[in-house]
Assembly symmetry: C2
Homo-oligomer: 623 residues x 2
């Protein structure tokens, strides 16, 4: 991976930062956030502005360019990748390390007095605008909205915004019709006495209408907004995709409906003016509910006194708690996904060991091939992390020809991959050795496994927030002076985004909502040694009620049930470091893999993979 | 404990809430916070306004009185106590339970449109003012400062503000002179380019000047403020206590000093006007550093643009990291404290079992008597919680004649107590049974012990915040569906407040500062069964560097060393629920108690207590 040369681009950007054609007054700094106008984590090529200007294309990062400097803030998952992808024009700001300045502090330290800092008001979330604007103002600077995106002005071959066909999901997948979801949303709005609700996140629009799209790679969403009133539904969406008879039928666009369920379809680009119209029409005490992470532009469209801001929208919270149809779908998807991975690992074992011709890219492609053979496969749920040896230490590595290593019997192989099936979304990481792991590699793997089990088997009271479980995942590593620089888990959508709020398991997440039965999160502790290897063990787990001996204050307890059912390589485990309870956990887990996935492999006639599964699920024995 | 009858008082308060003599406009609600003008947790009798108006005298709680309602917010430690102490005029708002409204939400739900909510601006912290004012304003109400405290106007026999003599502490106790503390503080101020610093917390004034007082029971502090400039020191303090030659000598008030170390002594009541003078004299860019928890009145004295607010002051952070002299003092204090407790428990065993005449109050008094025999004893560090049977479930119980139970061989006895010695502050809880505990009592005790050990033996990276350790203390309880409704630990001062910031171990504390070697906190998980019993095991522990096998990113690791060395009753332990590691921890701990405290008991010729100690520290054996 050679870095992107950005000298010329930065020169051009610095010119437009001063050009009266684009800015009312010159800006001394320009912020390029990661997201799009919907604050998406995964974005369409036309929105990859931060990657365009810097070369760094990880999923999280904010670039700031001043007249003299260019700096990039990203987190521990991306330190190595960002350092590889950016040239010397850029300074890497490592989030989470003690001495790393915040963007605000850094700006204050480098800017001349009374500077203007520009940003695209559609891209910056309102809460970030507020924080940054306040910090800059108190240091004598100004954050200013720059209507025309300055990156777009210098991005000559910028791709078009995608506008691909929609997929309709029937009740067997969603469990609840879009009409009933609107009814439930309106009842939440009535509870808070807020007659308007703006849907800005792409996965929230998709979930609400039981539609899916493919405008963004890996995330089955489509570019749209919605504004829901107590008696009106407005959907802002472009293209002729609403001409599709199946979609028209699904949304009942041509039916005679009660007016409060009649969907008005409007152009995507008209959201701002429509919202301004709604804002202007409000009577006193009427408010508009909008996420505090929505863009500054949309938030400003609603007069301040009429805004009802919350960190998580009622759709975000409802979407996180999967109903029975969604849970069953997720189970099916994970069974199919496990079948594909058993095929892959069985194939790798045959290929890697004797031949040594399988590269990271070939392995990733093969994983996709096996997944695509499964029913209702749609696409991958994120770029496959197929990494061997030192590449495994690059936490969100994606193999490209320049970095592509060949799998061997001498290195650890880490595969973090997942898929979108029409019935569910998967995300699984397994770390394998095709030869003989060293004692040290086994030791580290076993600590990570102990952390994985500590979370997976944790029992905790109803109402507990996920961040209170994060240290369980680290305890075994901490005991030996080890750790990993990323969170332990994220919410997972149901045939939707592989990362979703409002729950998660992280030392950083203090605004997370409490875990509830029906929520689905990942459990993925790891250990990474720069230049040597990476280890991660990830299952997707479902929050379920736990049976406990007692029941303090009648609160009830919760625990997790693994949905992912793929063997954890026992060769990598130092059994003597496990407690009997941990050993039993592994054996029970493998027993379940053998039963459930074994039956499906049998049904699909995949006999070699079945043999592999049986070998890999032999019980561990403590000596 | 019978509740305080408040009908007449509330009537009077509601009258003054409308009286033009005290308020510019009538206020429809009046807030009575817990603290004093220094936001102290423990307060002088003259400041116990919330207890006066409601009857509830726990250490935490906020009362709000409207024309129709009176409500009290307090946390899980005090639910039972508050319910006992308040009459039917009051509604108890249980903080931490899901359905409990915030004060703001509650006010909005009960107030008529356009109400005024009054509060004493010297009592409400600025950060609370800001939050509450914003919430009320957005609902059409106003938070207004009421200069004269309305409780004081109806409190006819309100005690005088105390003004007792000061104690000077020399270098052998403090390790650092007040001059050097001023130098260090000024260097922090220079780092942030803030030329003024306001010391508002009583323990921060005491720590900075190496002085102690006794204006507030249990907390060796005195009523004072200080304003530190880069070249000036102003100490705001009343009374003739600065006439004491020892104090004058200590503060070098009569010496010829460099002007920047010359202390100007000013009347306590002049802080506001002096601060306004400082505020008015500032040149642009000059700021005044003040805690964001300082009172609204003092914060408002500084023009907004000149305020530099932080959640923790540099004094708070410096004070938390104990130096070698302070650590040694804390060790000595804990040895003496353990001697007193060994005496007490040995005495209790002789008295309770055969005679059955010892009440909770007698036991508490006896504990104080034994402590007072120790060198440099000053006073208790908080009201002794001496509770048996169901009283043990009242988390911050204090025995009074009406509730006083007799210790027996049939009930669990919980003693949470501590003292101020000139060399250190102690806080220890032990839970004992003088007869034969039931299997269930032992089971619960053992889970609490497992949690205590999990925190005490935890190894964690440098930079870890205490709240990330909280779940370790709960895990064993959670596994069985049990929990406790309080945090796990608090910072402990060095001959200062028994509760101090900025560190702690709690699921609630997200603004805590990272733990550092030299910090001292408590480790005190518990389990409480309303109406039956309470269990808590508390040690004060010192944060120390940990030796680990590896050292990820060279961050280094930390762990805890117990300073408290009092046996944990092995009779209460179900050994079969302990792992071998936990069993070893108990045995090593008891071995250390036997060695260190045994030697001191021997030296003090306390032979019966020594025999008791030896019996109580016999090693556990797993079967």
């Amino acid at each position: 991976m050679s870095p992107k040369i950005t000298t010329e681009l930065l020169k051009q950007l610095r010119q437009v930062m001063k050009s009266p054609k684009y800015v009312q007054e010159p800006v001394q700094a320009y912020i390029v956030p990661s997201g799009d106008a919907h604050q998406s984590e995964y974005i369409a090529p036309c929105d990859c502005r931060r990657a365009f200007i810097s070369g760094f294309d990880g999923s999280a990062g904010t670039a700031i360019v001043t007249e003299q400097h260019a700096a990039m803030w990203t987190d521990g998952r991306y330190f190595l990748q960002a350092a590889h992808q950016m040239d010397n024009n850029w300074t890497l700001m490592k989030l989470g390390l003690k001495d790393t300045p915040t963007q605000e502090d850094w700006l204050v330290s480098v800017l001349p007095e009374g500077s203007k800092v520009g940003v695209d008001p559609f891209i910056i979330p309102a809460d970030q605008w507020k924080r940054m604007s306040k910090a800059l103002r108190s240091a004598g600077h100004d954050l200013v909205p720059v209507k025309e995106n300055l990156i777009d002005t210098i991005w000559t071959d910028r791709p078009q915004r995608p506008c691909r066909p929609l997929i309709t999901l029937d009740l067997s997948y969603t469990g609840v019709s879009w009409r009933d979801k609107i009814v439930a949303l309106r009842s939440k709005m009535a509870e808070r006495k807020v007659p308007w609700f703006v849907v800005t996140a792409l996965d929230e629009v998709a979930w609400l209408f039981n539609l899916r799209g493919s405008d963004v790679e890996y995330n089955p969403v489509f570019f749209a907004y919605a504004v829901i009133g107590m008696n009106t539904i407005r959907l802002f969406i472009d293209g002729d995709r609403l001409m599709d008879p199946a979609v028209r039928e699904h949304l009942q666009l041509d039916s005679t409906l009660e007016p409060e369920f009649k969907i008005q379809v409007m152009p995507y680009g008209s959201i701002l003016s429509e919202l301004q119209t709604v804002g202007a029409s409000l009577s006193p005490k009427e408010k508009v509910w909008i996420s505090d992470k929505a863009s500054y532009a949309l938030t400003e469209a609603i007069p301040k006194a009429y805004r009802y801001l919350t960190p998580y929208t009622p759709i975000c919270i409802a979407k996180a708690v999967k109903n029975a149809s969604e849970t069953e779908g997720m189970r099916r998807a994970h069974i199919k996904d496990a079948v594909a991975l058993c095929e892959l690992f069985s194939w790798l074992e045959k290929e890697v060991v004797p031949k040594g011709t399988v590269t990271e890219i070939i392995a990733a492609d093969k994983a996709e091939e096996f997944r695509s053979q499964q029913k209702d496969f749609v696409e991958l749920s994120f770029a496959t992390i197929s990494s061997t040896g030192p590449n495994g230490a690059i936490i969100h590595y994606k193999p490209v020809p320049e970095t592509n290593r060949t799998l061997s019997v001498n290195e650890i192989y880490l595969l973090d991959s997942g898929a979108q099936y029409k019935d569910g979304t998967t995300d699984v990481t397994r770390t394998m050795h095709f030869g003989t792991p060293s004692a040290y590699e086994k030791e580290c793997f076993t600590y990570v496994l102990k952390g994985h089990i500590a979370v997976s088997a944790a029992i905790f009271p109803n109402g507990t927030k996920g961040h209170l479980l994060d240290s369980f995942a680290r305890s075994a590593l901490w005991d030996c002076g080890l750790d990993y620089l990323h969170g332990t888990g994220h919410g997972v959508g149901s045939f939707l985004n592989v990362h979703e709020g409002p729950c998660g398991i992280s030392y950083k997440t203090f605004a997370d909502e409490p875990l509830e039965a029906g929520m689905i999160v990942s459990d993925e502790p790891g250990y990474y040694e720069d230049g040597s290897f990476g280890i991660r063990i990830e299952n997707v787990v479902l929050v379920i009620p736990a049976e406990t001996k007692y029941n303090f204050k009648n609160r009830g307890s919760l625990t997790f049930e693994p949905l992912t059912l793929v063997p954890i390589q026992t060769k990598m485990i130092d059994v003597n470091l496990l407690t009997q309870k941990e050993c039993n956990w592994v054996n029970n887990y493998h027993q379940k893999c053998r039963e459930v996935i074994g039956a499906e492999l049998e049904r699909q006639g995949r006999h070699e993979a079945l043999q592999w599964l049986i070998r890999e699920t032999e019980p561990l024995m403590r000596v």
